[in-house]
Point group: D2
Chain length 238, copies 4
């Protein structure tokens, strides 16, 4: 499978805490554990030409992973639009953490995608609420993260097609933290954890979920719908 | 309830067939039967300033009904964006027929919203597949329209929150022709029938569905979510 | 609207703590606030003949409210089966708290309906996750209950048609605590709170949710599907 | 993967038309094409002891395929209950055609599962309405069956988790003919076609769907939820 990991890659340049946790960037940390599954993984970042998302790159991507936060606005509209179109055409999309506010995700959702948030070094416990889902393979009934940023409801997304995880936060909130969405021929998995100042992407269960999410999001040869003007299939009785 | 019926109102000006069926425009035909329910109904059209959708008008609208077809592109982006925002804030939206390609609807869906279509004077039968839904109140188990435009699958929408009608077409296709979607605090009902060259909006059952849809889409005082940075509700144990 | 409140009415007879909170029984406490809305409300209990659920009583019930806990097994199978059939035929059903294990609910769900539980006098906070839903009318963004029994995931129910509340518990769990299900022509609302040793049904917001739930669950004249052998509607081309 | 194909195997004994199409029984016809995928496939039938569904057999079954029609009542309740429990515990279930009325399926759905039907040698066209779904892999946008029994709405099932196919029938009806349901840890796929007097299971695309459905329904190591009384995970603040 061909996977492209997209990262904004800004916090890593300016915040020593982040650089310390992810010395080669969040994208390379993610890429490293995805390669363990034998996938063909490439990484691209915001500051490359076309943000690294050229037509060739997108055409060769089965699943795109997206991490962005403080520079969502710098992503060009035409690139975001191209990503959206690729998803509608069948590319899988895994959106991580603050990517909830990214242009491709908000365009695909059609809603504000806003939420409550708080940075207070608090505990998060992600409960599995769909124990049939392949994205939960290999997990226990919950994942515990000692310190994370809080995201709280109401999360302004459309009703998810599937709700897989609900997070409990020590400070009193809950959050739909793992959810899937179908759009066109494409599948989208949103997964909440991964604030840049915590070593969340080094956690084995978080890695497992992202690996499972990628496997789930890939589309293998489903039908290509045709649309537009269409001739009669049956004779009319008149 | 305060209802605003928006109509493109172009076919009525140029096509005598349409003008004959709807001499005062599709908007006034719809407005007339909605008033039977005692609602406060206003009509606005594309060619008015701001397409009739001023801030004041939108602020006083509980449910907006939308009919558009050949001039979707002439709807200004900023007006479409305002309509979308009003829906996210709680305004109901009933989208009719070719409104599937309107800017407010496609922005709220996040997908292409394309479909198959054909004008062949063929029969449509709308089967009720959700007999619990208030939008079906007063109906029999199906509605039959002697002649309509065909719309066929695949209809490129997100999975509906509720699927209420499935259409059978004489020419061989099926279509998810009545579907609801929640976005933010707002409720959206898409209802397929209503090609301009047929007297569909004079059909009693079609009128019933639109009346029911409006009643369903209105939002009465549900919670206003707060979002953004949020203080701790609970003390942390540390 | 005609509402029947069914209560097991056993804890009230044996546990002075419960009798002190609900001196006339949980059923009469619920009945009292439902009458405020002008409904025609009757109460019935397990120990009446046919558990109070005669054919006449059920035929005259628009919405049935169910509270049961320690005597689920004493509900006769044929009565539970009749209740199920009434729901499929269009009667609304509001299932409260430990009613998750009642015969009518488990028969209608088709799953085990088990969950985690704990009695530890802990805080529950019910977050609204669907701010479009009429069941949330008049609420703030969450309801806080100082002391309640904990119910935790995984709650073994089918995917709800709508998820309205998610509970946060002080002890570390989350729960899908307000959910709707459509079955046949009937609508079901499950609402979690209401352990017998706490004054939960005296809480104004809890009362509001139950009132809203009843209003939502009532079915007004939706289509009666016909099924079985069916003659051709169209001529076949052969 | 270990697959068990269960067949009532009665029509094959008494109706020469059926025996002619499926000389070794529907179960062996299905088993034959499933083996092409390299699965370990066994067949069992109603008239074997315990209908062939011993504890050992069920324990070794990843996915169970079910075809039954005129002898649903002869399936013992305790066997049907065991099958249901296995599904809740994670076994996949693929229910074909008239299996909609089988005991395991109706118990898992909680509804009547009735529908309209007609035997008139009419054309069926199954349209793909979810082109993201792995069950549609390798298909075109529809499957056409020259002659089939008609099944029509309203189909009395709970809202499916996913709706994959909608059928068009020549005689005027539509049907939700491919749908998935999650129950406990188990996944269920209902697929409509397959009346015994037509060679439907010899059709390559129908075989493809059943193969895909089995692959989809298999559960690989998702979490085992624990339920019942549960100790505090967090200290309470009191």
């Amino acid at each position: 499978m061909k996977i492209t990991v997209w990262n904004e890659n800004r916090h890593e340049q300016t915040n020593p805490v982040v650089a310390d946790i992810y010395p080669e960037g969040i994208h390379r940390a993610i890429s490293a554990f995805l390669k363990e599954d034998g996938h063909d993984v490439r990484t691209v970042t915001l500051d490359e030409p076309e943000h690294g998302l050229t037509d060739e790159m997108l055409a060769e991507t089965d699943v795109l992973v997206w991490w962005g936060h403080k520079a969502h606005d710098e992503v060009k509209d035409e690139i975001a639009e191209k990503v959206k179109q690729c998803v509608l055409d069948g590319m899988g999309l895994v959106v991580l953490h603050s990517g909830h506010f990214s242009k491709p995700f908000t365009k695909l959702m059609g809603t504000g995608c806003n939420l409550k948030w708080r940075e207070a070094d608090e505990k998060e416990r992600l409960w599995v609420v769909d124990p049939t889902h392949p994205i939960t393979e290999g997990l226990q009934q919950y994942i515990e993260l000692e310190k994370e940023e809080m995201y709280g409801e109401h999360f302004d997304i459309p009703t998810p097609d599937e709700l897989i995880f609900i997070s409990w936060f020590e400070g009193g909130e809950v959050f739909r933290s793992g959810a899937t969405f179908k759009r066109g021929r494409g599948k989208i998995f949103y997964f909440r954890p991964g604030h840049e100042t915590y070593p969340t992407y080094h956690h084995k269960d978080i890695q497992k979920v992202i690996k499972n999410g990628i496997k789930w999001a890939a589309n293998n040869n489903t039908p290509q719908p045709t649309r537009g003007n269409h001739q009669l299939i049956e004779y009319l009785s008149k």
